[in-house]
């Protein structure tokens, strides 16, 4: 026999921990058809061999949905999702420490008339805080079975499964009742009913969680809180840029070794070139970012699971509000400093559609790690390492300016968008600051595994396809036998480079840069190896390439050209993966194309201005 269970509850009630405890490792992450809301599904086998298919629904405060995630939670319960049945049993999850609010959703879901079991989660904490809840009275007042659980420790799970089994077997194929948006008076009455129930069921209320409240006096303090936020951000940056360098190096040498192995195994020819220069090189150049992305998500999951994330949004709401954005937009923008792809994915928590869209549209302007290799190359070649003041050197200072430039551009464009195209009333901020928790290792490990998988799958599909296409453009047609120039100059990429030269000449770029733009459009960092190919630099590894290349560029380019290219890199949209993700998240081509258009226009104008100003300043 198999049963479908749906886990539903308020955010921060320990629902994900319960899902992990129920399913162990037997879970997979996908998407609901047509939308990009994450679908988390798992299985558990019961004591008598019955199979439970468990769906972890996004957290929601009510069925009156405000975000795409909440809509999904509601539609699954109604069986309105294509290919998804309405559940046999709803596993309602409530935080035993916040029943006054959590039970509102429980009562609302009960009106659907589906079999339901309530997991009263975080019971250990409630007991430690001195709460005394009469489970029998609570159960009879609510009219559903109530099972106490401590999800992070796995307590109460077998009892919960047994209860769910009992309920499901008793009424298989129940149909949900029709739901309509409640009036505010109905919402009010529902919560008055919660108060009546709790007055009977709670024998002694919990004491406030003092350490959490005390911690908040510092963590959301206007001054100390801001300092702590910057310290945390500093640590994350440190991790992304320095700690991840070691595992990135392993992946890089692994890819290199694989390429050499294949080279040694196969005869020279088109197929070997496709595998080594196209597939391995292309996919490898993206996989190198996996450690950075994992580090970023490791910290984000820790911050989310501990309850800090909402505090960061609280502290930053005013600043983000200055450009018309929501406090919650802060985290996606910050994530975009590693990579715009997780940044754009992180916008899902923003309720308002215009706010979310604005954040998606400006996220790629934040300086992502793929720009770093290009910046490093240009700075090494053109910026002298003079001392500015104290320990600050000019090279580091220019790098800092490039980051600031990206952030200023992102906030500026957001400001303009919120006043023009995406004008609208400022959406309300109404957000829970959950009590602090020690993060559960299981939530973090499973969360990381999911992120890594989503990223690798993308590298295996979109990036693979593009890599093959670009390899073709750069390899064919072949150079004539008596060729004097590097082979790429005779290829389609070379032809495109020459063709676009008149367009990019006003920016100070010649056809060689035009050629490097072709593969660089798919992924920014590929520009470095593309330039190396164009200037026919033979070097074993990337570092050596960069050193040799910077010497060549110093001779070939003017400072005006280099500055113009830096500005181009701050602003231009050169990442097909970002466009693909933006298409999925906005569910149309309209916005990713708009993103491409406005960023290219902005980059063109700014580079044009930079080049001509630099030239008139005598840097030509």
């Amino acid at each position: 026999m198999s049963y479908r269970l749906a886990l539903a509850g308020n955010p921060n009630c320990g629902k994900t921990a319960l899902f992990n405890a129920l399913t162990g490792g037997r879970q997979k992450v996908g998407n609901y058809p047509g939308v990009t809301v994450e679908k988390k599904e798992g299985t558990r086998v019961g004591p008598t061999g019955e199979v439970f298919k468990i769906l972890d629904l996004p957290g929601t405060y009510s069925l009156d949905a405000k975000t795409p995630d909440e809509e999904i939670a509601r539609d699954v319960l109604f069986g309105k999702i294509e290919g998804e049945f309405s559940p046999d049993v709803i596993l309602a999850v409530a935080d035993a420490n916040a029943l006054e609010r959590n039970l509102g959703l429980v009562l609302e879901m009960k009106e659907l008339g589906l079999p339901m079991v309530l997991a009263l989660n975080m019971m250990d904490l409630a007991k430690a805080r001195g709460a005394d809840i009469d489970l029998e009275i609570l159960s009879s007042e609510l009219g559903i079975p109530v099972v106490p659980t401590v999800a992070v420790k796995g307590e109460g799970i077998p009892a919960l499964v047994a209860k769910a089994h009992e309920m499901a077997a008793a009424s298989k194929n129940a149909q949900p009742a029709v739901w309509k948006t409640p009036t505010s008076d109905e919402v009010r009455n529902r919560f008055l009913r919660v108060d009546t129930i709790l007055a009977k069921a709670i024998r002694r209320s919990a004491r406030p969680l003092l350490w959490s409240e005390k911690l908040d006096r510092i963590v959301v303090h206007p001054l100390w809180g801001s300092l702590i936020l910057f310290l945390i951000l500093g640590t994350i940056f440190q991790a992304i840029f320095t700690w991840s360098a070691v595992p990135s190096g392993w992946i890089e040498s692994g890819i290199g070794a694989l390429g050499q192995f294949v080279t040694g195994m196969m005869p020279e020819g088109a197929l070997r070139s496709l595998l080594v220069d196209g597939v391995i090189q292309g996919v490898g150049s993206i996989l190198v970012f996996l450690p950075q992305i994992l580090f970023l998500f490791f910290f984000l999951l820790l911050l989310e699971d501990s309850g800090y994330m909402a505090r960061a949004a609280f502290l930053m709401d005013r600043v983000m509000g200055k450009v018309g954005l929501h406090g919650r937009a802060f985290i996606p923008m910050l994530s975009s400093v590693a990579c715009a792809i997780p940044g754009i994915m992180a916008t899902r928590t923003i309720e308002n559609k215009r706010d979310r869209l604005t954040t998606i549209l400006v996220a790629p302007l934040m300086t992502c790690s793929a720009r770093l290799p290009v910046y490093s190359l240009l700075i090494a070649a053109f910026i002298p390492n003079d001392t500015v003041f104290g320990p600050v050197r000019l090279q580091g200072f220019v790098m800092f300016l490039l980051y600031v430039g990206g952030a200023v551009a992102a906030l500026g464009v957001a400001w303009v968008l919120k006043r023009t195209l995406l004008k609208g009333v400022k959406p309300p901020l109404l957000m829970e600051l959950p009590t602090y928790k020690v993060p559960s290792w299981r939530n973090v490990v499973f969360g990381l595994r999911d992120r890594a998988w989503v990223f690798i799958r993308r590298a295996g599909t979109v990036i693979l396809t593009i890599s093959i296409l670009l390899w073709f453009l750069a390899s064919y047609p072949k150079a004539p036998v008596d060729a004097t120039e590097p082979a790429i100059n005779y290829s389609y990429a070379g032809k495109i480079g020459h063709a676009i030269e008149p367009l990019i000449r006003p920016l100070g770029f010649d056809w060689r840069i035009g050629i490097a733009f072709v593969p660089g459009f798919a992924a920014r960092e590929v520009m470095v190896s593309a330039l190396a190919t164009v200037y026919a630099i033979e070097a074993k590894d990337e570092d050596a390439t960069a050193v040799a290349l910077s010497d060549v560029l110093k001779k070939e380019w003017s400072i005006a050209t280099a500055l113009s290219l830096m500005v181009w890199y701050i602003l231009a949209m050169q990442c097909l993966s970002t466009l693909a993700v933006a298409r999925r998240e906005t569910n149309s081509w309209r916005w990713p194309l708009f993103m491409l258009a406005y960023m290219t226009a902005l980059a063109y104008l700014a580079s044009f201005a930079t080049y001509h100003i630099a030239r008139s300043a005598g840097l030509g």
Binding site: R188, P222, L315, P428
Partner: protein, 86 residues
Amino acid sequence: MSVGKLGEMEKGMIGVISKTGGPDEIRRRLLEMGFLEGSSVEIVHTAPFGGDPIAVKVRGSLLALRRSEANHVEVRDTCLAVGEGK
């Protein structure tokens, strides 16, 4: 002061919610989050750069909201919470 709007209260003040109003959509959301008539409410934190948004304790939860939204909530019997202030 004994009656007032939540959005106009200062940090450390406590009171009892006497009315949750505003447009129906906002009112539903406020009620869902626990801004229920008769519940007590306390302003525990204010954000940097001008003290907006605010964080309030209501029905066992700590909730953040902007003062403009908090103004839909009317509070009676307001006073300074014990242990707060100078």
